[in-house]
Subunit: 221 residues, 2 copies
């Protein structure tokens, strides 16, 4: 879990708190859908239920300067966000675990917009090996080496059950993977130079459960 990140800038690195990166991703999602040419910080803030000052502060980190009177030029701002996230650089990723979630990710068509290509999906279940997931054949873990080198893979996606996640991650790191995209609902231990992004999908519903205000009987008000 990395809470800070570094952006290269001519005058040295800028540190991004994780929360800032999360908001910048939301701006990216919002602005890609916008049809108009300009947008104000107030409008972004209203649509995302955050404060306009926060929006202006976040965007001030980017390699972009808005015009105070007319607002942000949307396509330029999207360009700046694309650069920040490297969406124009292609990363080949692999998926470990050909269960429901692994298959769902392997079949996701939108990755192309983020510069992501899924080049292989792996599993150790003999019944799954050789079956097709979209256009990919499920491969055994012994093929990891070959695939990682052939496609210069840096990002490994963990879609195995929680109990086998750590040993899968240890193996990936040994094989040269630099960044772990973790969908298993467990906390992983990795060396300091390895990046981890946790997507504990199911646990995310707990925010809604917490926020649903209830009476002591468990009934919602």
């Amino acid at each position: 879990m990395k809470n800070m990140s570094v952006k290269k800038k001519r005058n040295g690195p800028i540190m991004f708190p994780k929360a800032t990166l999360e908001r910048l991703k939301m701006y990216h999602a919002l602005l890609q859908e916008e049809k108009s040419e300009y947008i104000s910080s107030e409008e972004i803030a209203r649509k995302l239920s955050i404060k306009p000052e926060q929006v202006r502060k976040d965007i001030s980190y980017l390699d972009y300067s808005g015009k105070p009177k007319v607002g942000y030029h949307i396509s330029s701002l999207v360009d700046a966000l694309d650069e920040l996230f490297g969406t124009k650089l292609r990363d080949n990723i692999i998926i470990i675990g050909a269960g429901h979630l692994g298959k769902a990710l392997a079949n996701y068509k939108g990755f192309v917009n983020f510069g992501i290509r899924v080049v292989a999906i792996f599993d150790n279940d003999p019944e799954k090996l050789g079956t097709y997931v979209g256009e990919l054949v499920v491969l055994p873990l012994k093929d990891l080496d070959r695939v990682i080198r052939r496609f210069n893979v840096k990002i490994g996606t963990i879609c195995v059950p929680g109990e086998s996640a750590q040993k899968t991650v240890d193996l990936l790191i040994k094989k040269g993977i630099k960044a772990i995209w973790n969908f298993a609902p467990v906390i992983l231990e990795v060396p300091e130079n390895i990046l981890v992004e946790n997507m504990d999908i199911a646990r995310s519903v707990l925010t809604l459960k917490h926020l649903l205000d209830r009476t002591p009987t468990g009934k919602i008000r």
Copy 2:
């Protein structure tokens, strides 16, 4: 997108920033796996790559008091987190969209630990209606009313494509849904009294792409 939440306390509400809630969910994930009886804030911090002061501050919000010398009593701390997130209260949820992701969620066995039961999955594709997803039959949207009332459903899960997400959400709200668990990669507009938790799964990989430090040629250092 709610950035603040309210916890009921005898002496009035406590506001949780979204980042705090996210860390509390990580503690929940970590502590559920721990085998020992006590854990220190330093150890939690080390395993999650955050600061011990942050851990102590976050946990001070909970209805729990640790013993400074021996650390936190793990099972009591899990209990406090369970109470915060309402994992012992059962919420019946519905899933809209029986594509790969919707099916993956409907089949997820771990929800029971979070007090979540998926009671129905919906789609408007005639080819999917009547097919089985685990033990659930895919239902048409015209059955929404009946299911929401029958199972007192408050949380609706959006697994439809981005372009139909907003109109699906509008429909759910009209039918009485109070909280939206959104897996569509778009920003939704909802009335103020409706909760939204966004899980833009694919976009989460952008954090890793951003953090993978590259030379100007796109090669990783």
